[in-house]
């Protein structure tokens, strides 16, 4: 154990906004977002890297932010669910989830929205198999997967 608390200076851009912070090396990215930056849209579900509720984009790649250290975002860019809407207008993916009833309790939704965002950035016309693969790391305990599917297909058509 370190005798003195070590702090590491990091610079990170979150949803387009630059932040300079001093963080403990053990601070997790999800805690940085929720506690230090007050971005509570990113949820903590299992906290063991299984459920994907904490999914955010780090440098354009979907990651489980409960299993990434905040220091790993140093010099990088993060996109959370709060960064999807622009000028008070929901992102087409968010609209599609709403219109297709792609959520029930909504706890897993922020993670699913980010996984969908990554999928559609890479593949604007995903097959059913592509969609299954893209959201395999996002668990919905309301088991609303069929409507999530419909929402992602609708979002792909609209995108």
């Amino acid at each position: 154990m370190p005798e003195q608390e070590q702090l590491v200076a990091i610079r990170v851009k979150v949803n387009g906004k630059e932040h300079k912070l001093q963080v403990e090396p053990r601070l997790l990215l999800v805690e940085l977002l929720r506690e230090n930056l007050d971005l509570t849209g990113t949820h903590i579900g299992c906290d063991t890297s299984y459920c994907g509720a904490c999914t955010v984009l780090l440098n354009g790649k979907a990651v489980k932010s409960c299993t990434v250290l905040a220091v790993h975002a140093d010099g990088g860019e993060v996109l959370t669910v709060e960064g999807l809407a622009k000028n008070g207008e929901l992102h087409p993916i968010q609209k599609a989830f709403g219109e297709s009833y792609g959520l029930q309790c909504g706890y897993c939704t922020p993670g699913l929205l980010i996984s969908t965002y990554q999928l559609l950035q890479r593949n604007s016309n995903p097959s059913e198999k592509d969609i299954r693969k893209a959201i395999a790391g996002n668990t919905c305990r309301c088991t609303g997967y069929q409507n999530v599917f419909k929402a992602i297909k609708a979002a792909a058509k609209g995108a």
């Binding site: 370190p2 299984y50 299993t67 990434v68 250290l69 996002n138």
Partner: protein, 297 residues
Amino acid sequence: MFPRAFNYHRAGSLKDAASMLQQLGPDAKLLAGGQSLIPLMKLRFANPPHLVDLNFIPGAAYVRQEGGGLRIGALTSHAEIEDSPEAAAIPILHDCAAGIADVQIRNRGTIGGSVAEADPSGDWAPVLLTLAAEVRCLGPKGERTVPISKFFVDAYTSALEHDELISEIVVKSPPKGSGGAYLAFKRSAPVYASASAAVRVAMEDGVCRDAAIVLGAVGLTPVQATEAEAVLRNNQVTAKTMEAAAEAARAAADPQPDMRGSAEYKRQLVAALVKRALEVALKRARGEKIELGHIYA
């Protein structure tokens, strides 16, 4: 959950990381993608006082074709291997990379981290064993090459010294007429396999000249099913010989009963996975293109 506090050391190069390990002593641990280590630290199963972070080392993630084979940088993520056209030339590499956990974990987890962890349920080990890969290890005294068959010493124990790290994995391209396949059986995407099988056959005029069959998650280290290989070698690969090889693989497996199933259940899985993987490997040896995915319960 938080990991216990640790001293953080950011390495600027692989060499730098090796000398940090030497200075900090055997309690220091390396942090690559962190997809196993960070959960272990959060659960306080691992409490390293020093972490040497490899994530900011430039140029350590690559898949390069060279000298009739591939060189894969230790910090190459599973996703980068999944998307690599160079790696696609050896389909078993794609089977493995594309099937590990889920998108998010493949984006962070690295091949070097996975091999160095030597988790008995790890996906890369059986695959790399069928390809007789080489592990380049870098320490303060320089670089040495360890054949992958000598790398896994015990569960979570590799041939790495405390001040060594993996710099690169080297895979030779299999000869013409070869086919390989990797299949894992999992309860869901993000979890470890209940059992897995990696196979490779080298065919010549309808006869199997060489075979490799390695089982994952059914022993403390990957299990090389040598008797199963012997069944195929210098024989025609027919439904009957494949069945016999699968039976020999079942006998070679040494699984522990756990929440993923009883020992007998896992042996049954092994036999089925070996048979299915052989069928695919044989078709690939004939030049057929087959996409393979992991099987979920």
